[in-house]
């Protein structure tokens, strides 16, 4: 039986403390911006634009200010363009422009759709929202990433039961423990949704929640967004998040309880069959809700934009990050002398999963990207234009970490059986998929004001601490192996 004590526990408390400080600091400094901004109310847009660099104390913004401003102007159409800026912008991007012209590609400037849609917003207000969004977006990125890890573990657990898989029986308890974490990020998600819908604390993560955006009389009116009112409206949105909460967390808790009941003996076969039925039902529920939750929480940030593949693309990211964390936890437990029946064949299989789903993620990423790139329809391509602008370096770095790295490192059979290689690849996959979530969320919420600094890392560490605390406490509460499981023997003799 695993005992959760000592350094790991201390570490988790320290990490949680770091996280609380980071989140607190982000909201506190965010508020500081807010006041500063209100102080300038009524001044020209250019001044407001200038000052957004003042308060940051963040080298990134100083450096990129010019670029950010240009980008911002370009984003919001011609009203603020003057010759000076235009020519400078042109000089800077001359090659790009010639190339764009000859290739008749969409750019912020020739993209009529992009411009007219953006013109509908008042620049100053938009910028204010982006700044106020920084702490919220940071929370959303990290929260969604850890939600993904717990949710992916629950999905994998349900797959094992529904498919009557034998090989993984020895590691089911680890998946169970990971899925117990789910309740925390889903509750935080609910908090984010509630603050967004009721406009609490300057949360403007989801653009369609803006007041008056669906009202034809309002200056904020946006015809396209108004057309989506049937799905994207406050009550239904809240209801959906509640349904996810109940369905997912309910399944996680029930599966856990049934698994513990199995330990106490009785009619194990009947219990196992009940778990199978529950898992099968959950998988149907998950098939729908994994897509809809991705639309709700992530895709509706870029409200105009849509992609039919988005749910699956997000799911692929969810699953591969979760498998990676599962592998890392098992390797940790083995290195501490637990799970002695888990042999290199189980580890090899987990390595295969990490490898295969990294490629699966890339496949879906590319499928989504290539169709949009090839058709080059303005309303679709805006999504990637935002990501090829301010986020270009991060975007390609993320792609390299998530595809090239796992493919090359985990391709060989020997590396999939080697803890060192698996841990290295695992850490990179986690960083890569965190960046993936970051790039999904940030362009639509904070635009050019992004920065990965102490706050982002601190929040990540805080969630990691919370995750460690909950997961390892669950692990310590029950034996690491379900001793009455009907497939235990098969797992013990698993050989590939």
């Amino acid at each position: 039986m695993f005992e959760f004590t000592g350094r790991l526990k201390t570490l988790s408390y320290i990490l949680i403390l770091i996280g609380i400080i980071s989140v607190g600091a982000s909201f506190f400094t965010g508020r500081g911006h807010d006041e500063a901004h209100h102080g300038h109310e009524g001044t020209e847009h250019h001044e407001a634009d200038g000052h957004h660099t003042e308060g940051h104390g963040d080298a990134h913004h100083g450096k990129d200010e010019h670029h950010a401003e240009d980008q911002h102007k370009a984003d919001h159409g011609g009203s603020h363009h003057d010759d000076h800026h235009n020519s400078e912008y042109f000089e800077e991007h001359k090659d790009n422009f010639n190339y764009h012209k000859s290739a008749s590609r969409a750019t912020p400037d020739n993209n009529h759709y992009h411009r007219t849609m953006a013109e509908a917003h008042v620049d100053k207000e938009h910028l204010h929202h982006q700044m106020a969004n920084k702490p919220w977006a940071n929370l959303l990125v990290n929260n969604f990433f850890f939600l993904a890890i717990a949710l992916g573990a629950l999905f994998f657990l349900a797959i094992q039961y529904a498919a009557q898989a034998g090989w993984a029986t020895l590691i089911l308890r680890v998946m169970e423990a990971m899925s117990q974490f789910l309740v925390i990020p889903v509750m935080i998600m609910l908090l984010l949704v509630v603050t967004g819908v009721y406009h609490i604390g300057d949360n403007h993560l989801w653009h369609w929640m803006q007041e008056g955006i669906m009202d034809p009389e309002s200056p904020h009116y946006d015809e396209i967004i108004a057309g989506k009112e049937g799905y994207l409206n406050g009550p239904f949105y809240l209801l959906r998040t509640l349904i996810y909460l109940i369905g997912w967390v309910g399944a996680a808790m029930l599966l856990r309880r049934m698994s513990l009941k199995m330990d106490r003996g009785g009619d194990v076969a009947a219990q196992w069959k009940k778990m199978r039925n529950l898992s099968a039902g959950f998988l149907v529920f998950f098939a729908v809700t994994s897509s809809t939750s991705a639309w709700d929480w992530i895709m509706s940030i870029d409200t105009h934009w849509f992609s039919t593949l988005f749910g699956w693309y997000t799911f692929a990211g969810i699953f591969v990050s979760s498998l990676t964390v599962l592998t890392l936890i098992i390797i940790y437990l083995k290195s501490k002398g637990y799970l002695e029946d888990v042999n290199e064949n189980h580890i090899h299989d987990l390595g295969k999963f990490m490898f295969a789903f990294s490629i699966f993620w890339t496949y879906l990423w590319f499928s989504q990207f290539m169709l949009i790139w090839y058709s080059n329809i303005p309303e679709e391509v805006t999504y990637y234009m935002a990501r090829f602008g301010e986020y270009k370096g991060l975007f390609f770095l993320m792609l390299a970490i998530n595809f090239v790295f796992p493919v090359l490192v985990l391709m060989s059979r020997n590396t999939k059986r080697n803890y060192g290689f698996l841990v290295t690849a695992g850490i990179f996959i986690i960083i890569g998929h965190w960046l993936d979530v970051y790039i999904m969320v940030m362009p639509g919420t904070v635009g050019s004001l992004w920065s990965i600094g102490l706050v982002s890392i601190g929040t990540f560490l805080g969630f990691a601490g919370l995750f460690i605390l909950v997961v390892f406490r669950s692990l310590a509460k029950a034996p690491l192996v379900s001793k009455n499981h009907p497939m235990l023997l098969e797992s013990k003799y698993h050989h590939i």
Binding site: A103, F366, N376, H495
Partner: protein, 181 residues
């Protein structure tokens, strides 16, 4: 004739179950005999390990075949679509490979798979000496149906080996005859 003296004497042991065969191979090798070859109607899991065969290098070969396919795809798309006959397809940049790369990814993927798969099969055929008109090596046609055959080189006492093979569960034991193949 001298041929009988410098010939290896090969004993064929026939089995009717793959698990029994697998255990037989292990037992025979544990006694210090050399298992020349095993014939089986289907791949038996773990048999290569039990026979002490060197790990296959086909994976490494496949990687380089894939690399070759990828390079070929890059070369032909570059030559055909950029150098030799640039075409304006949907306004995509037809004069630079790099910017047009996403359009070529399906080709790169397909040729990587094509080269890796085909060359792996041909490598397998070549390494195993399988080609049309090859004289058959299989000593017993029943191994293509439901029997398994193990060839053991006779070293030491003949009776001892025979008893050992019987003990491992062989249903038929005979000496290999058509040695000149």
């Amino acid at each position: 004739m001298s041929s009988t003296t410098d010939h290896k004497v090969i004993i064929n042991a026939l089995y009717d179950d793959d698990d029994v065969l697998l255990k037989g191979v292990k037992d025979v090798r544990a006694k210090g005999y050399h298992v020349e070859e095993v014939y089986s109607p289907f791949p038996v899991h773990g048999l290569d390990h039990a026979m002490g065969l060197a790990p296959t290098r086909i994976g490494t070969a496949a990687f380089f075949y894939g690399l070759l396919g990828l390079s070929t795809a890059i070369a032909i798309t570059y030559w055909m679509m950029i150098v030799d006959w640039p075409m304006n397809i949907g306004g995509k940049p037809s004069f630079t490979w790099g910017y047009n790369m996403p359009a070529f990814v399906p080709i790169m993927f397909e040729l990587t798979v094509f080269f890796a798969a085909h060359l792996m099969v041909w490598t397998f055929f070549f390494r195993n000496g399988i080609y049309p008109g090859r004289k058959r090596l299989n000593p017993d046609p029943r191994t293509t149906d439901d029997k398994f055959l193990m060839e053991v080189e006779l070293t030491g006492d003949r009776e001892e080996l025979m008893t050992l093979l019987k003990e491992t569960g062989a249903i038929e034991i005979s000496e290999k005859t058509d040695q000149n193949a």
